[in-house]
Symmetry: C2
Subunit: 226 residues, 2 copies
DNA sequence: TCAATGCTTCGATTAGCATCGAACTATGAA
DNA sequence: TTCATAGTTCGATGCTAATCGAAGCATTGA
């Protein structure tokens, strides 16, 4: 009938509430089992199975069999990007769920959102970088300032390497718990990696929690509030 | 129920074939009337009206009243980006419509796809830049090489200005007629703008056709095949 | 005023699909 | 082998939403 790639097929796959919930859960970057995804989506395992079959057929998720579990992950960075963009639009047009966010105080404080820092410290990072004028945000989104570009190389981040990827460098991502923006995109992810490398923080296994050491948190505070 | 922005609402709006066709048509950047969009989508005006009401309520499109017509445009650059990303995914997973592309030979040769160059010359531009190693594409997508960055400034393109926008610099976009990649993203758009400024080409009014002058086409050939 | 065009609202029909209960397969543990 | 857990398939149900015909506004032009 019409020309071009079939957007509708892909978008329809993301457009069901149950499936969207599953995919959102997978944005944590962790591989989740079918049952876990069923719980995340609030549906029965049968229903989840049917949804997962569709997502798999559409190459939105990739399954990996391990013992009697099937672990699912998002099938590529383009899926992450699509979800991030859609989140941004949903945020802009005010389609937000009423929800307070995670209960666990450690989760509220610092956790990973796919591959970047979220939670109170994620928001603090965004605000801190903005206050130091290393990033600037306007109607069109957020971007590194010239000062921010200098900062990145001083801080040990290879911007040219990041630019080689398809993902945009900077993106705002609405924080589920704090309801404010934190920094996503490949630069946001690189910052968190750098925190790991510097020993400031580490990821708690089997959880989205990011735990800063005392010294690491101090350095972090100095970074955002010099 | 769940946390976060409501992806599903937005994605569902893009996930209907009729609506997706309308939105794809609007990627040309031109404002289209309700009846035109109905034709593009292959539905009756009544059905189109109902779809447009939903898209308007979801702030995906913006109407502008003029006389007895209602002109619709995409409501922001984030919508364009979402459509581009979804096209990329649909392309990757092989969800393409079977269709040869536009019939008009001039359309096949050079036209705008939203705001960048498409058609045979769009594909030639992509290939030429790749052959000159000004852009490099891999699994993750396409990006400017260091040589490409130098080229851009020599050619009069303000990369820092482009980076300040939310849109990614480079993106592959599957060409509807040639079935090969051409260059989208803010850099792709800037290149086309530069062609206009240099007098190489101009846009035919009320059409997506881009018409190169003889001298312009020669310069274009020299550019991509030095 | 009348007619034509652009677009929307109403109502009825239809089709697709999300959902779940129940039964089935597969892996692992006792 | 037997039991338990993880996951899928099947079938039935019910809801939502896309679709279009017909009628209703609104704007423009004669």
């Amino acid at each position: 009938m019409k020309e071009g790639p079939d957007i509708a097929r892909v978008a329809a796959l993301l457009g069901d509430p149950a499936r969207a919930n599953m995919l959102t859960a997978l944005m944590s970057g962790r591989a989740l089992t079918a049952t876990e995804l069923a719980q995340e989506a609030g549906v029965t395992p049968q229903t989840a199975s049917s949804h997962l079959a569709k997502l798999e057929a559409g190459q939105i998720v990739t399954p990996r069999k391990q013992g009697r579990h099937r672990y699912f992950t998002l099938s590529g960075p383009d899926i992450v990007e699509a979800l991030e963009v859609l989140m941004g639009i949903a945020n802009r047009v005010g389609h937000n769920r009423v929800r307070t966010g995670p209960k666990d105080p450690e989760l509220r404080k610092a956790r990973v959102c796919y591959d970047h820092l979220a939670g109170d410290m994620g928001v603090a990072l965004f605000d801190g970088l903005a206050k130091r004028k290393l990033i600037a945000s306007d109607l069109n989104g957020v971007a590194l300032t010239p000062a921010g570009i200098d900062f990145a190389s001083e801080f040990g981040i290879d911007l040219d390497g990041l630019r080689a990827k398809r993902r945009p460098l900077c993106r705002e991502c609405l924080d589920w718990s704090a309801r404010q923006s934190h920094l996503a995109g490949s630069f946001g992810a690189a910052l968190l990696d750098r925190f790991y490398d510097l020993g400031w923080a580490r990821r708690v296994t089997d959880s989205r929690i990011v735990r800063f050491s005392n010294a690491g948190e101090k350095s972090f505070r100095d970074l955002i509030n010099p």
